[in-house]
């Protein structure tokens, strides 16, 4: 369902916009279009206020209201996202290297960055597999149970890391998901030392990965890349072997960023 996806409905200091974004979050996180009354219960606002807010969101195309009075996410969001994705510098620079890594290993390669407590997947390159689960791009996943997430956390300065981890609410997706700050922090330290991370079926049963951290010098992007696949095919031994190419690819991406953005930053 919702997992913890980055702490949706916190009171932010962004005035009117913040309140509207909470609503947008509510509707986009729901499993199905919501009726006015459903939102009323969830948002806990006066009817008149909520009605106007929803109307504004609909007029702007951020939400859509169907013939049965149900609110769904608006398609304008797709337009915004398509632009945001097409032009993202980090992704553009990383793409060829992701492709190389996919070629070399034959498995699916991901690029993700840390935003708040979540990893947002920026790109994905997969083999010829007929199953197209390309919904992964744009998806937000928890940072504490994904390879890319833990790799990203290993880049944070001690204090930020403590703060972030303190705010996590752990959801146990599988038997091996971290459920305490202590064990997570211990693993993060280990990852920081060795320079790569594993996901041992911590987010999804049967799926594991090796990941390496990637960052831009201006710290706009703190993230990672990973090689992901089914556990029956990817032994821990194999994953250990792949740690090297993943780290190499990560290095090339960072080098690309330096060249692209200029040396002094």
């Amino acid at each position: 369902m919702d997992s913890n996806g980055g702490g949706a409905a916190q009171a932010r200091e962004t005035g009117t916009l913040g309140k509207l974004m909470v609503l947008l979050d509510l509707v986009t996180h729901a499993d199905a279009p919501l009726r006015f009354t459903d939102i009323l219960a969830l948002a806990g606002q006066p009817r008149g206020t909520l009605h106007r807010q929803l109307t504004h969101l609909v007029e702007e195309g951020l939400l859509e209201l169907d013939g049965d009075g149900r609110y769904a996410p608006g398609l304008r969001l797709l337009d915004f996202a398509a632009r945001s994705w097409a032009r993202n510098e980090f992704r553009l620079i990383a793409e060829p290297h992701l492709r190389d890594l996919q070629q070399a290993t034959g498995e699916t390669v991901h690029l993700g960055v840390l935003r708040g407590q979540s990893i947002i997947y920026l790109d994905k390159v997969e083999g010829r597999q007929p199953v197209r689960m390309y919904s992964q791009i744009g998806n937000a996943s928890p940072c504490y149970c994904t390879g890319v997430g833990k790799a990203a956390l290993s880049l944070l300065p001690a204090e930020s890391l403590i703060d972030l981890v303190a705010g996590l609410r752990f959801t146990s997706f599988t038997a091996s998901t971290h459920v305490s700050a202590e064990t997570l922090l211990a693993e993060i330290r280990e990852i920081a030392d060795q320079g790569y991370a594993f996901d041992r079926e911590e987010h999804e049963a049967g799926i594991c990965c090796v990941a390496a951290p990637v960052w831009s010098e201006d710290r706009t992007f703190i993230g990672g890349i990973s090689i992901t696949g089914p556990a029956y095919r990817l032994s821990m031994e194999l994953l250990h072997q792949w740690a090297v190419p993943v780290q190499l690819a990560a290095g090339k991406i960072m080098e690309g960023m330096r060249v692209r953005l200029g040396p002094r930053r």
Copy 2:
């Protein structure tokens, strides 16, 4: 570039939100990240006001501010869009039929819906290449020079059509792009009669398509599906032949919507 993309910066009656969305449009439509001063010039607002607005957008993750003080679209937009896309009922129902159509013809198949003056592409099924989300999905294209767009327009009641066309600003993308309301309206009438539309390299040189209109009974979705490909491979004769299967697929999608959403609407 920008084409005309649906009339970005109109003064809407959505209060604070409308003003912020204009800014978001500005930044996402730009070809590169914008400096504060660039936005200041484009938006024509007092510095203090603009600064607070941008700060709010950044705090909400809708924009991002890099180390050089340049504003880029925020990654939270991707998260919203991924959800909005994954759950879209129209797309979910259409997908298997798009797949069938791709199999039958071997060419790329698109699903798009009308939003304002633009077609927003909701899905795309292509040959052996793995789909890259957002490569086309989510993109907004003009309605007057795409097969899906003209098919969608043919569904509008006379009055809405006139209004919409009256508001168009025609951009001549190729030699065959419609540049006047008269010729466009004439073709739309023809399309309404025959039930399918062509794009004869009107948006992009060398690319043509056949499209059929698709709509949901509650008129939440007014759109179309198309088979698209390079003109050297797709003769007009071939496109004429494909008009039948495209219309059949469109029919099945509409039938699927009826079943899914219930008969009385």
